[in-house]
């Protein structure tokens, strides 16, 4: 049974290795956990998941795999959840109310429905008559008015166990597959910092050492200086107008917050696709323009370029001269994009659209081809991979975002 669980975890995207699995078995053999589903859950997670970003994936696999199996644990333990639920309600309910519950299908039914609801429900809920939340008339939740209500998370911690920890999916926000929002902006910032600097090793200051040793009458006196920091120059090109605005704002804030880490940070806006003109101030976009050729001349190829845009438009806007929705462009978007990509060898495109939709939108596919496949989703993981791409140039990507260097990579 556990071998299948191990395989399911790997299939579910949790990077577990055999030694970790063996250490779980070792821990089970050493009787670290007693016979309860919850303890087994914690033990398994501790031994096999080494990053809180994978907790949510682990929870999902665990829930799926051990569905029904908890009953097995329950048989082994003296503490039967239906029993304490019964005790609880005996205190809270009148004889008449209890009879009504029995008429509704009894305790097993109630627990089964609870589990179902929890699976369907996302997030916190208040009011209403179906979901689990507060102050409603659903049988589940707290402060409710339904006589068969199961109080959750209000009194002692015992009740909270009614919610199986792995089904509550508390770690969803830590999964790096979700789109960037204000919640995980901070994490993204950390990734960016990692991009901008690495290590803080010290190196020998040869001149300083000779000087100091001489002053010290020939007694050796070593002098060290901090190693020079990696100074990254970054050019942001952001798609504005329409549905992109919140994402663009998130990105702008993100990179401005990380500004101190870059030697230079410049940004320009475009609408849908870059053509011969870009602009810096969105309010005066029609009066103060910057020539794209001028941008190419001003910023030399050691700038790294980062596009943020959904690349979702009519394919004509890329392929045809005059295809722009705002003005007459003499040369097609494809020509301009090719020019930009040729000038800046290190370039990535961040796309907030969900990855599974990319293949269905023709313009995204064209853009992806134009940037040599260097398009990444606007998620923590995608940002991470994009930064790695910008930093080290071409790499081979595996499924979990871990990378192996291509043999041709000289750095």
């Amino acid at each position: 049974m556990l071998v299948r669980f191990f395989n399911d975890l790997r299939a579910g995207g949790v990077p577990v290795t055999l030694p970790e699995f063996l250490s779980l078995l070792e821990a089970l053999e050493a009787r670290v956990a007693s016979l309860s589903a919850e303890e087994f859950y914690y033990l398994a997670r501790m031994a096999m998941v080494k990053d809180e970003r994978h907790f949510d994936r682990f929870d999902r696999v665990f829930a799926e795999h051990f569905e029904g199996a908890e009953k097995l644990f329950e048989k082994l333990t003296a503490e039967l959840p239906p029993e304490w639920l019964k005790q609880l309600t005996e205190r809270l309910m009148s004889e008449e109310e209890r009879r009504r519950v029995e008429s509704l299908g009894g305790w097993d039914k109630l627990l089964e429905t609870l589990r179902e609801r929890l699976r369907e429900q996302r997030g916190r809920h208040e009011g209403g008559n179906k979901w689990i939340g507060t102050a409603g008339t659903s049988p589940f939740g707290n402060q409710g008015f339904n006589p068969e209500g199961v109080r959750m998370g209000q009194e002692s911690s015992r009740h909270r166990r009614a919610v199986k920890v792995w089904e509550a999916r508390d770690y969803r926000n830590l999964d790096d597959g979700v789109t960037l929002g204000t919640r995980n902006l901070k994490m993204a910032l950390r990734r960016l910092r990692r991009f901008a600097r690495e290590g803080a090793a010290e190196e020998l200051d040869l001149d300083g050492t000779i000087d100091a040793t001489a002053r010290n009458a020939g007694l050796l006196d070593l002098k060290l200086v901090p190693e020079r920091r990696n100074a990254v120059k970054l050019l942001l090109l952001l798609d504005v107008g329409g549905s992109m605005d919140p994402h663009v704002k998130a990105c702008e804030e993100l990179f401005s917050a990380a500004r101190a880490e870059f030697k230079h940070l410049e940004y320009f806006y475009f609408h849908n696709f870059p053509y011969e003109r870009l602009w810096k101030d969105n309010r005066r976009r029609f009066s103060v323009m910057t020539d794209t050729l001028g941008v190419l001349r001003t910023f030399n190829p050691d700038y790294r370029v980062l596009f943020v845009g959904d690349a979702t438009m009519s394919p004509y806007e890329i392929e045809q001269p005059g295809g722009s929705v705002e003005h007459w462009n003499a040369e097609s978007g494809r020509v301009w994009m090719t020019r930009i990509a040729a000038h800046f060898p290190r370039l990535v495109w961040l796309n907030p659209e969900p990855v599974d939709r990319w293949a269905w939108t023709m313009s995204i596919e064209i853009t992806r081809e134009l940037v040599d496949g260097r398009m990444f989703p606007l998620t923590l993981d995608g940002l991470d991979r994009a930064m790695r791409e910008l930093k080290h140039g071409r790499r081979i990507y595996s499924r979990h975002g871990t990378t192996d260097r291509a043999p041709t990579d000289a750095r």
């Binding site: 303890e39 950390r190 803080a200």
Partner: protein, 284 residues
């Protein structure tokens, strides 16, 4: 293997999952990697384990310039060279210039010690990789004196990380992992009770409500954590603030008294003020 079990102390409230993680690490002799929001008691945990199990504690605080070698030993070549220029007698014995690190000292301990490797993510990316063999086999080789240092007892090793750098897979494989979540209201109340047993329940309830309100403010740069709550309550007690003052019915006072203990930068204070102001207006 010792059968010591950790079950929390009178000054540290540990959740069942944390206890399980610590005990599994002790039983199997694996290092335990602890992550979590700053101020949730990661470092404190090691001190409490050492105290509860009555074991000696060795601490190794990592800085951005730390090298793995410094935890084992350092050969102070410079002072040996200097001594040789001054013609000192002890220069002949190389042992005089080997300075033991915390890991070596922990390995030499007569009883099973607790070793804390604090904030491992501060160091260089390669740092954890340089410790693989030492943590796995609990031994290392001193090149200068050609001796093998082996641990007398496998120390209980606790490693904390603030997630500033990703740790290498090979290193993670050798550890158990626990993520300390921010405590829920009940646990938090227990924690405060442990630190301030004489606190009036009324004040505690008001303080916790205010605290969770502050924490739930969207967009805060640094959310206040457990340690900040404890500091704040200490201040409230010192200033003898009444529960009514905390409830803040006074519209002139927009933000909680002594907020400096909870909100640590001016943007956060400003943001919080604005939100409270908007809420008040909407409430009218």
């Amino acid at each position: 293997m010792s059968a010591a079990r950790f079950s929390g102390t009178d000054s540290y409230v540990a959740t069942p999952d944390l206890l399980m993680a610590v005990n599994a690490a002790i039983t199997l002799g694996r290092p335990l990697l602890i992550k979590g929001e700053p101020g949730t008691g990661k470092t404190q945990l090691a001190l409490e384990i050492a105290r509860a199990l009555e074991r000696p504690l060795f601490e190794w605080h990592i800085k951005s310039t730390s090298k793995a070698q410094q935890g084992l030993y350092e050969y102070d070549a410079v002072s040996r060279l200097r001594d040789s220029q001054l013609g000192e007698e002890k220069v002949r014995e190389i042992r005089n210039y080997i300075v033991k690190g915390s890991l070596w000292e922990a390995f030499e301990s007569q009883v099973q010690p607790v070793l804390l490797i604090d904030e491992i993510d501060k160091a260089d990316i390669e740092f954890p990789n340089d410790l693989l063999r030492e943590l796995d086999r609990m031994e290392f080789y001193v090149n200068e004196t050609r001796e093998l240092v082996k641990a007398r007892h496998r120390p209980v090793i606790l490693i904390t990380s603030n997630n500033e750098k990703e740790l290498p897979d090979a290193f993670l494989r050798r550890c158990f992992f626990h993520y300390i979540r921010f405590p829920d209201a009940d646990t938090l109340e227990k924690i405060v009770r442990v630190h301030y047993p004489d606190l009036k329940s009324e004040l505690l309830r008001e303080a916790l409500t205010t605290f969770f309100n502050v924490r739930e403010t969207p967009g805060l740069r640094k959310k206040p954590s457990t340690s900040e709550l404890l500091d704040w309550i200490k201040l409230l007690l010192a200033e003898d603030i009444s529960p009514e003052a905390l409830r803040g019915d006074d519209p002139k006072k927009l933000i909680p008294v002594l907020h400096g203990a909870l909100l640590k930068n001016e943007q956060d204070v400003h943001l919080f003020e604005q939100l409270v102001f908007l809420n008040r207006r909407a409430g009218r």
